[in-house]
């Protein structure tokens, strides 16, 4: 009965205090996570320590960095993004990071709430962590393919100025803007031959190179044909008399004089990444789901 009242009150909460962010209580009996999350002894406590929110709110300003108007503006932009690109978008600010790193917090917040669109939970999350003073962009599902490492860097670069100057609303707008630009650009070339598997991992597909195979086959055919044609021509003029040597070379003169030396230096280019410099690096969160992304301090 008590539990019933509590849940009823919790349901009322969003309507009563609209400015602040509402959370729901997780209990061991009701972890409030999606069915596809594999709850283990290792991540049960982590889940309990992750706030449960209404995933439709999109802006979770726990650190109270935005005004109500700002929140509404960000919300509208985020909703536009979600509708246009069919990927989820959430912005989170926190004063207290109970998970140690911005990356872990972002991943857990995303995974243990019902974020993400489609089977692969496609979406992007932007976290401002006032505790560790880090800001972080986390990608999931198709968003891993869209936002490769260099695009993540570019987003972080774009927001860095505002982050360092305490203009968190501006930084959030920067992130949405850049994310929108990249989403409209589509999948970067380095990630074209990839897909997201059922575990949320990005899998790079080796493409069969037909044109290279054609060229290599032509070259081999040409060489073999030349050898075969040459085989039919057995009449050759002899240019040496090696087999008629009756007394082998008697060396009477031998000198080796050093003339010059020359040293050339070339700089080795360390090639960047195996996917044309456009790949996405990923890591696995406590939920077992893969995420891409990156962050930095401010």
């Amino acid at each position: 009965m008590k539990k019933y009242i509590l849940s009823f009150l919790l349901l009322l909460l969003p309507f009563s205090v609209s400015a602040s962010t509402n959370t729901f209580e997780r209990t061991l009996d009701d972890l409030r996570v999606n069915d596809y999350i594999n709850v283990t002894d290792n991540n049960r406590n982590i889940i309990l320590n992750t706030p449960s929110v209404d995933e439709s709110e999109k802006i979770y300003d726990f650190a109270d960095l935005f005004t109500d108007d700002e929140e509404e503006e960000l919300y509208n932009e985020v909703i536009d993004y979600i509708e246009k690109y069919n990927m989820d978008f959430a912005i989170v600010t926190i004063n207290d990071n109970n998970k140690g790193s911005a990356m872990k917090y972002s991943d857990d917040f995303y995974d243990y709430n019902n974020f993400g669109i489609n089977k692969t939970n496609d979406g992007i999350l932007f976290l401002i962590d006032m505790d560790t003073r880090n800001y972080y962009v986390s990608t999931t599902g198709e968003a891993i393919r869209v936002y490769n490492d260099s695009r993540i860097d570019s987003i972080l670069d774009y927001a860095e100025y505002n982050m360092r100057n305490g203009n968190y609303f501006g930084a959030a707008k920067n992130v949405i803007f850049k994310a929108t630009v990249f989403a409209s650009d589509g999948i970067p070339s380095g990630n074209k031959n990839s897909y997201i598997n059922e575990h949320g991992d990005i899998v790079y597909v080796k493409k069969i190179n037909i044109s290279a195979s054609l060229i290599a086959s032509s070259i081999i055919t040409l060489i073999v044909m030349l050898i075969l044609i040459k085989r039919n021509k057995m009449i050759k003029k002899a240019i040496t008399a090696d087999q008629y040597i009756s007394k082998a070379l008697n060396l009477t003169e031998k000198s080796d004089n050093f003339i010059s030396t020359h040293t050339s230096v070339t700089t080795i280019n360390t090639s960047s990444g195996s996917h044309g410099g456009g790949g996405s690096s990923t890591h696995i969160g406590s939920s077992g789901i893969s995420h891409g992304g990156g962050g930095r301090g401010f």
Binding site: I208, A216, N232, I235, T240, A241, N250, L251, K254
Partner: protein, 349 residues
């Protein structure tokens, strides 16, 4: 009249040299004799006359009015056409003067061996027209003793070369390549023996070069009796006229030997050479060659087989239809192999 041949001691018929057993066979009474036995035998009966016979034996000389080739055969072996230009209107005369080569290598293989070698010549040569794998298509085949000059020469000289020693290493993200250049000089001498060059104008030297080497271990003092059953050609290029060819070969070998003595370098480039080849001796020898001619699409394709080693050479034309088919097969199988390899490696279309 003395004859070039030995006569059968049993029935008196002329004997023919048989390369198979290196004996003289009698085609009438089927006996065969070693040359030593025959000579002993002859000496017994003819004694002094035998010596005379050697000086005055009768050989026929066939002269081709077309190409000028002079073919020698004993009186029991007739040439019906010119072995070089196929002219059948060849003129038969008695040989006047001497035909005394120093040495001869008797035929070690038979016409049958040559036929068999021809049967196998298209093996591993898939672009050959089918026509060339059938020995029935051999238009003519003749065993001919070709006049050869065998040169003995001394070669001496020196070369100058630029040699480089390249050493490379990596330090940090820099790759260093150090090239040391040396000026190398090498001088020396070497000797050559029995470098063969044919004394016939009618032959492309390349054909004779291609069937080398001849087995000199089988070389014996010339005896006209070895000619029986075969044709021989008189040389029409004297040894001086052919020496340039030998000289060039000996020079090249000398240069290579000197160059090979520059060891331990990454590259060797000869910049200057001074090599002298001088002949010290020359022998006149008849070397055995099976000449085969194949007439294909109105063109004659000459083949030659070394009469000692059985090495058969010739230029076989390329069958265009076969070439296209073989080319397509190679291309398709290569392409399939590449695609399959990529699929095995996890590639997707």
């Amino acid at each position: 009249m003395a004859v070039a041949d030995h006569k059968c001691p049993s029935c008196g018929a002329p004997l023919k040299f048989n390369p198979k057993n290196q004996k003289f066979d009698c085609s009438y009474c089927k006996s065969s004799f070693k040359i030593e036995d025959l000579e002993k035998n002859e000496k017994k009966y003819e004694n002094v006359k035998a010596e005379e016979a050697k000086e005055n034996y009768t050989l026929d000389l066939y002269k081709c009015p077309d190409c000028g080739a002079e073919i020698v055969a004993d009186e029991n072996t007739s040439a019906t056409f010119c072995v070089y230009c196929k002219n059948t209107a060849i003129l038969k005369n008695k040989l006047v003067g001497k035909f005394e080569p120093d040495y001869i290598i008797p035929f070690q293989n038979t016409m049958e061996d040559a036929t068999n070698a021809f049967k196998n010549i298209c093996k591993k040569r898939p672009l050959s027209p089918k026509f060339f794998s059938n020995p029935e298509n051999i238009a003519e085949m003749k065993g001919v003793y070709i006049p050869f000059w065998l040169f003995e020469c001394d070669s001496s000289g020196s070369i100058t070369a630029n040699a480089t020693h390249v050493h490379s290493w990596t330090q940090g993200n820099k790759h260093y390549t150090k090239t040391d250049t040396f000026l190398c000089t090498r001088g020396g001498n070497l000797k050559f023996e029995n470098v063969p060059v044919d004394g016939s104008k009618h032959f492309d030297n390349a054909i004779m070069n291609s069937i080398e080497p001849f087995d000199y271990k089988k070389m014996v003092k010339f005896k006209h009796s070895y000619l029986s059953g075969f044709l021989a050609e008189k040389y029409d290029l004297n040894s001086d006229e052919t020496f340039d060819d030998v000289k060039n070969r000996a020079e090249q070998t000398t240069e290579n030997s000197l160059k090979n003595s520059i060891k331990g370098y990454s590259s060797v480039l000869v910049t200057d050479k001074d090599i002298n080849v001088s002949k010290t001796d020359v022998k006149y020898a008849l070397l055995p060659v099976w000449m085969l001619n194949v007439k294909y699409k109105d063109k004659i394709y000459p083949f030659a087989m070394n009469g000692t080693t059985g090495k058969l050479i010739g230029n076989i034309p390329v069958d265009k239809k076969k070439a296209v088919i073989v080319g397509i097969c190679i291309f398709v199988s290569c392409f399939a192999l590449f695609i399959v390899a990529q699929i095995i490696a996890g590639g997707k279309f």
